[in-house]
Symmetry: C2
Subunit: 338 residues, 2 copies
Amino acid sequence: MKVTISDVAKLAGVSTATVSHTINNTRYVSNETKEKVYRAIAELGYTPDASARSFRTGKKKIIGFIVPDIANKFFATMIESVEKYLSAHGYQLIIANTRENMEREETNIRLLTAGLVDGLLVASTMDDFQRFDALIPAGFPVVLVDRVFEEKKYSSICVSNFQPIYRSVCRLAGKGDRRIGITGGLPRLSSTQERISAYRQAMADCGLPEEEGLIQYGDSLENSACACLDKLLERRCDAIIVCQGMMASETIIYLHQKGIRLGKDIDLVSFVDYDSDVYTLYADQMDTIIQPVEELGEAAGEEILKRVESPEAPIFEKVLTSAYKPCSLSVGPVRGEA
Amino acid sequence: MKVTISDVAKLAGVSTATVSHTINNTRYVSNETKEKVYRAIAELGYTPDASARSFRTGKKKIIGFIVPDIANKFFATMIESVEKYLSAHGYQLIIANTRENMEREETNIRLLTAGLVDGLLVASTMDDFQRFDALIPAGFPVVLVDRVFEEKKYSSICVSNFQPIYRSVCRLAGKGDRRIGITGGLPRLSSTQERISAYRQAMADCGLPEEEGLIQYGDSLENSACACLDKLLERRCDAIIVCQGMMASETIIYLHQKGIRLGKDIDLVSFVDYDSDVYTLYADQMDTIIQPVEELGEAAGEEILKRVESPEAPIFEKVLTSAYKPCSLSVGPVRGEA
DNA sequence: CTGAAAGCGCTTACAG
DNA sequence: CTGAAAGCGCTTACAG
């Protein structure tokens, strides 16, 4: 049979209140009494029932994280880092995987907010803020991660998407590239939109012609790079910017198989999954943009716990910066000079 | 204020029992009554409190998964597949990440089994069965995944480790390799042990000399491959078997950087993370062993739900088989023949 | 310094 | 066909 707090109280010869208080250190208990309680707990092998406790206090000590694609190393690493922060603060993390599907996101938000978690981290796949907002119970602690909405109703932690892409275009233009193609993730995502608009602005600023066909979109999941690349190659690009981490390795492989040499036949800049050792191989052949995933996760954990403790805290927006790692051979001769 | 079942009952003019039964479809309710209830629910925006419900019923509809390393794509993919199965059956998944640390595993098992989840999936990093067993409350539904103990007390879903490694050695021996090195994960893990013992047996069966220095162990996390490789290369191996998925890409990169050509200077066989597109690049240069991660996850989900429903169900052991993908150029001339 | 008791929001025998 | 009420295992004012 299940051992309850009353069993302990009975055996220790005290009230359940005293047992509860000694366990939780929530009011003074004399040392003798404490000892009796602990002895009884040990003898019975008592463990407080988390589900009763959270029902009673309304606190589950669980945070939910709605993730678009758990097999994407960017998110997997972020989850790891969020989990690390939370567990250090006595919280557990529940993951829900949407695979960039809005209905799945909807279902999961409903489920998790219905008494399962104390707060929610969301890397949303939605583009409609009203629809998203309607799912969140009033006052429920929410932090948007990596992807934001224009409406600033929720706290958010994300990465500056504009700067690295703008810089990429400038660097490529500086090398003499004129036809610069770009592949992004799902067009509806704020991250994709920011990146594409940085591209557009930089192209204009550098005086390079824009062309719709030079912009291609994938689905932010695996195996969408090749179709994009085919279209870009048709357009005879000098350079390609891959602004979606999942596409990076696919791109490298695909170009390799086509016999197109990086840094020679084509210039490449790519967002890269954090910590992915594969790219060190290509450090001398391409520029890489590395997102601060771990900081992102930690900041997200910090902010959601803050909101759980004080739901009325002011909205907070944090924008982190990616590292831009120029091709290690970029000091070589500019094309056309040789 | 929170809307409760009594608010609904009051507004609908029925008892809480009736509200509960119409929500859960758990006894006959007349259509008119149902309609009154649903109208009240809609009007008040009522959502049943999951935490009260699970406290009452003792069922949380949550499964816990203790994972050694969530950033390892093998486990990330498995999580995805478990989560898919569970959510299709109305369950949520909670992840705990141990980073191959026994203390963290202990803490997490204690936490999760104390009323947080209905059942537990564990890819354990422990080698001491007694210690593990002591953490599990009597009768608590547990399924071991990927890694097992000799004691057959719990159900398990894992992959046959013996066969692919045995075959690797035979294939390499058949190519004329004699000095075959192997790198494994943590020595304490059953998966590592099975692989190494398959190697030993195959080496003996093929009449190849064994040598302690040809066996190297990593830590089953990222960045442990290079040290192993250094030691193997010192021993002047003809071939290397990488029997830990995380090490695969590190190995390829490292050999590449050293100017050692796959299939020419050295033969390589490697376990490979599921679905990892990088390896298609090397399909003509190495043998790969691909584990059935998705099936593993699905089978694990199936078994844990079975045990949650009927905890007394007989112990079940499932062993899946990996795909062995021989190097696509292996039909070429055997070394020494040319 | 500690206890008696209410109550969190549900579900579910029991009763009619 | 439906209701009154007990009770799941805790925590926490209230009281002394």
